[in-house]
C-alpha cells in the first residue's frame, strides 16, 4: 500500500490552487493525495502516521493556470463557488475544493447542480455559510466616527468575508472615508471618498491608538440606544427569538448591546 501524501498550503485561494497543481502533476493518484491548509493562529498539529507531508510554497503562476482551466473547462459559476469556498472557515475546505475540481473536470459545467454528490453538497454548504455570514455583516456591522469624519468598523467574522462586504459599503458610502477591520485576520478594507476600495493586511494597524472618537459620535450612539430600547414591544418580549435572529457573537461590536462602551 502506498503512503498518503498530505499537501500543506497557505490559507488562500492561491495557496490552495498551487497545492492542487502540485498534487495533480505528481501523478501519484488522487486517492492517495490530500490537501490541507494552515488555519489561522495554528501553531502545532498532530501529524498522521504513514503519511508524507509536503509543504507547498504558493506560486502565482501555478495558481493562475489552475484558475484559468477552472473557468474555461468547467464554468465561471464553478469558479465563483470555489473562490467563496476558499473563504470558508471549514478545515477540510482545501480537500473539498480539490475533490470538487477532480469531478468538475470530468463532468463540466453541470457539476454545480450535481447536489446529490457529497463533495458538491459540501462546497454548496460552505458557500451558503459564507454568503449568509456576509449578508449578516451588511446589517450588523457598525461604523464609529473618529477624527476627521473617518468611519471605522471592527468585525470578527468566522469566515473571511471582508472582500464580500466591501463592494456594498463602497457603493453605499461612496463619499465617505472608511476602514473596515477584520480583527481575527488582521486584514482590512480601506476606502477613500471617491476612490475604489483596497484590501490590505494590516498587521501594523494598531486600533488602540484610535481612541479619540468625534464629538458627535457619543451623541448619536446614545440616540441610537434610546431608539433601540424604545422600539421593542414589552407585551411581546422574546429573548429567545432575539437571540436566534441575532446571535450573541455578533453583538460585541454593536453599540446598542454595549451599555457603557463608546
Amino acid at each position: 500500500m502506498k503512503n498518503k501524501r498530505i499537501y500543506m498550503c497557505e490559507d488562500s485561494i492561491e495557496g490552495i490552487f498551487t497545492a492542487i497543481y502540485d498534487a495533480w502533476s505528481s501523478r501519484y493518484g488522487h486517492e492517495y493525495n490530500r490537501i490541507e491548509v494552515f488555519m489561522k493562529h495554528e501553531s502545532e498539529r498532530n501529524l498522521e502516521l504513514f503519511s508524507e507531508y509536503i509543504y507547498v510554497k504558493t506560486d502565482q503562476e501555478k495558481a493562475v493556470k489552475v484558475s484559468k482551466s477552472v473557468k474555461e473547462k468547467i464554468s465561471m459559476e464553478a469558479y465563483d463557488m470555489v473562490c467563496h469556498g476558499a473563504w470558508s472557515d471549514r478545515e477540510e475546505k482545501a480537500d473539498i475544493i480539490y475533490r470538487f475540481l477532480i469531478l468538475g473536470f470530468s463532468m463540466g459545467a453541470k457539476i454545480v447542480n450535481h447536489l446529490v454528490n457529497d463533495t458538491v453538497m459540501s462546497l454548496f454548504e460552505m458557500n451558503r455559510n459564507v454568503s449568509n455570514e456576509a449578508n449578516h455583516c451588511l446589517g450588523f456591522l457598525r461604523f464609529k466616527e473618529i477624527n476627521n469624519h473617518i468611519l471605522l468598523a471592527k468585525i470578527n467574522p468566522k469566515n473571511d468575508i471582508i472582500r464580500l462586504v466591501a463592494p456594498h459599503f463602497s457603493d453605499r458610502l461612496s463619499n465617505e472615508n472608511f476602514i473596515i477591520y477584520d480583527e481575527n485576520r488582521k486584514s482590512c478594507v480601506v476606502h477613500k471618498a471617491g476612490y475604489p476600495w483596497i484590501y490590505t493586511i494590516g498587521d501594523n494597524l494598531n486600533l488602540d491608538n484610535i481612541l479619540s472618537f468625534s464629538n458627535a459620535e457619543e451623541e448619536f450612539q446614545s440616540l441610537w440606544k434610546i431608539f433601540f430600547e424604545t422600539i421593542g414591544i414589552e407585551e411581546r418580549k422574546n429573548d429567545k427569538l432575539q437571540r436566534n435572529n441575532l446571535p450573541l457573537r455578533h453583538r460585541n461590536n454593536m453599540p446598542e448591546f454595549n451599555k457603557s462602551e463608546m
Partner: protein, 481 residues
C-alpha cells in the same frame, strides 16, 4: 391636549419611537438601487437588510418614528388617540433628516420609516411628511430606503409628490372589514383608505409604462415567484369611488416630478390589519388579503396581533395576551398565497372559517386533499412540489435543479433540506414511498400533530397552555371537513 414644548431631541425620539412601535412593517425590501455618483449617499438592496433585533425579537431595519403624536383622530385601539392623556410632541423635518443621515452613515439603519398622527388636518400632516422626505432627497441627497405612511384623507397631489420621494408607501387598512373600521376608527372611512391605494397602484403602473428605462427585475430568490400572480389592474367594486381613474388619462401628472427620478413608489405599497380587536374570522381576513394582492397589487399585507393599550368596551377582550399564534398562522397562509400559488378559498371556507391551531395551513390543506397524493418527486412540476408539506421554496428549487443530472432518492431529499418526517406521507421517490404507511386522514393527522411543529420561539411556550384548554373541544373530523 397638552403639547410639550422645549423637549430635547432625546426626549422627542423616545416619545415618537414609543408611539410608532406598534406599526408592524419594518422591511426595507423591494427595490435594488445602486449608489449615485455625485453628492450624497445610499443604495438599496431588493432583499432588504436587517440591522438589529429588538427585545421582542422583531427586525429593526428602518428608523421607525412618528413625525408627531399630536392627533385629532380618536381611534379606539391607538395609543395616540386624541382622548388619551399622553405627552405630545413633534419633530421638525430638519431633525428627521439629521437623525436619518447620521444613523445611516453608521450603518444602524437601511433608511427611514415615517408615520404620523394627524396634526390639525390630513393635508397639513401630509405636507410635513412630504417636506421631510424632500429635505432628505433633495438637500441631503439621501439615496437609501424610505417608507412613508399615507394619511387617509390627504390630497392626491400631496400623495403623488410624496410617492416620487418614497420607495414604499403604505396606507393602513387597520381592520379587516368596513364595519370594524366604523366601530373603532370613527374618523377613518374605507373609502379614504382604498382611494390612495388605488391611486398609488395606478401611478406605479403608469410610471412603469412611461418609463423608458428597463424595468428593474427583482432577483431575490423568494420574489422571483411573484409572477405566480400577475399584477392586474382590476377595477374593484369600489371603483366608482375613484374619480382619479379616468380610463384614458394618466394617473400621474398632478405635480411636477423631482429632478432625480427614482421612480414612483418603486418598492410598491403595503398595508396592515389589526388581528383580534374585532370578531372577523381567519377566512374573512385572508380573503381580504387576497383581494388586496390581486386587485391593488400590494407587496405585503401585515397582520398585527392586537395589543390592548386602551380601556374601551368596544374592543374585544383578550385574556390570553396578544393572539400571537393566530398572527403566525395568518403569516403562514399569507406566504402560501404569495409564493406557493394557493388561493384563500383552498385554505379555508365559510364552514371552516378558522385555521387549525395544531397544524400549519399547508398540512391542513394537504390532509383535506389526500386524493392528489402521493406525488413523484422525480416528475412533479415545481408548483406541485411546493404543495407538499415539508417542502419549501428553497428545497423545491433544489429538487428541480438536482434532478436534471440524476434521479433523486430519499437520502438526497434529506440533504436538500426537505423535512421528511412531514413529507413522507405525501411523496414517492422512483415509485416507492419511504416506508409503507397508511394513507388515511385520521392516521396521518395524528402522526403530523405528534411531530413538534417548529413555531417561532416564544409562541410555543404559550401554546402548551392554549393547547390544553383547546383540546377538550377539538373535534378532528369537524376541523378537517
Amino acid at each position: 391636549m397638552i403639547v410639550q414644548d422645549n423637549l430635547s431631541i432625546q426626549e422627542k425620539l423616545e416619545i415618537l419611537t414609543d408611539a410608532a412601535k406598534y406599526d408592524v412593517a419594518c422591511t426595507s425590501s423591494g427595490v435594488d438601487r445602486k449608489g449615485t455618483p455625485g453628492p450624497g449617499m445610499g443604495n438599496t438592496v431588493a432583499a432588504g437588510i436587517c440591522h438589529s433585533f429588538a427585545a421582542d425579537g422583531r427586525c429593526i431595519s428602518l428608523l421607525k418614528i412618528l413625525f408627531t403624536n399630536e392627533c385629532i383622530f380618536d381611534c379606539k385601539y391607538c395609543i395616540n388617540r386624541s382622548s388619551n392623556d399622553v405627552v405630545r410632541t413633534s419633530f421638525t423635518p430638519d431633525e428627521i433628516a439629521t437623525l436619518t443621515m447620521e444613523f445611516y452613515r453608521r450603518n444602524y439603519i437601511e433608511g427611514l420609516f415615517l408615520s404620523s398622527g394627524v396634526m390639525r388636518s390630513p393635508n397639513h400632516t401630509m405636507e410635513l411628511l412630504c417636506e421631510s422626505l424632500r429635505l432628505l432627497r433633495e438637500v441631503h441627497h439621501f439615496n437609501g430606503y424610505i417608507h412613508c405612511k399615507v394619511v387617509p384623507g390627504a390630497d392626491p397631489a400631496l400623495i403623488e409628490i410624496t410617492g416620487w420621494y418614497a420607495d414604499r408607501m403604505s396606507i393602513n387598512l387597520e381592520l379587516p372589514t368596513a364595519d370594524g373600521l366604523k366601530k373603532l376608527a370613527p374618523h377613518k372611512t374605507r373609502k379614504n383608505i382604498l382611494r390612495p391605494m388605488k391611486q398609488i397602484q395606478l401611478g406605479r403602473n403608469d410610471n412603469l409604462l412611461l418609463d423608458c428605462s428597463p424595468r428593474r427585475y427583482i432577483t431575490n430568490g423568494n420574489e422571483i415567484h411573484n409572477n405566480i400572480r400577475k399584477p392586474q389592474i382590476l377595477i374593484d367594486d369600489t371603483s366608482h369611488n375613484f374619480s382619479i381613474t379616468g380610463s384614458n388619462t394618466s394617473a400621474l401628472g398632478l405635480v411636477k416630478r423631482p429632478s432625480v427620478n427614482r421612480g414612483f413608489v418603486p418598492a410598491g405599497q403595503s398595508t396592515q390589519m389589526i388581528i383580534g380587536a374585532t370578531p372577523e374570522s381567519d377566512y374573512q381576513i385572508i380573503s381580504v388579503a387576497e383581494a388586496l394582492y390581486n386587485k391593488f397589487d400590494l407587496k405585503r399585507v401585515f397582520y398585527s396581533a392586537f395589543i390592548p393599550v386602551n380601556e374601551d368596551n368596544s374592543l374585544l377582550d383578550l385574556p390570553g395576551g396578544p393572539p400571537l399564534l393566530r398572527e403566525h398562522r395568518l403569516y403562514q397562509a399569507d406566504w402560501l398565497l404569495r409564493f406557493y400559488g394557493f388561493s384563500a378559498a383552498e385554505l379555508l371556507s365559510e364552514d371552516r372559517p378558522n385555521f387549525n391551531v395544531l397544524l400549519d395551513p399547508k398540512c391542513n390543506w394537504a390532509l383535506g386533499n389526500l386524493e392528489v397524493f402521493p406525488i413523484e418527486i422525480n416528475k412533479a412540476d415545481y408548483y406541485t412540489l411546493l404543495r407538499v408539506p415539508g417542502i419549501g421554496v428553497k428545497s423545491a428549487e433544489r429538487i428541480v435543479k438536482a434532478r436534471r443530472t440524476s434521479r433523486i432518492s430519499f437520502d438526497d431529499l434529506k440533504k436538500m433540506g426537505v423535512v421528511l418526517k412531514r413529507a413522507l406521507y405525501f411523496i414517492t421517490c422512483n415509485g416507492k414511498m419511504m416506508y409503507p404507511t397508511k394513507i388515511e386522514e385520521n392516521y396521518i393527522t395524528n402522526q403530523l400533530i405528534s411531530l413538534k411543529e417548529k413555531l417561532p420561539l416564544g409562541i410555543g411556550d404559550q401554546m402548551t397552555y392554549q393547547q390544553l384548554s383547546l383540546f377538550d373541544d377539538v373535534n378532528f373530523n369537524q376541523v378537517k371537513k
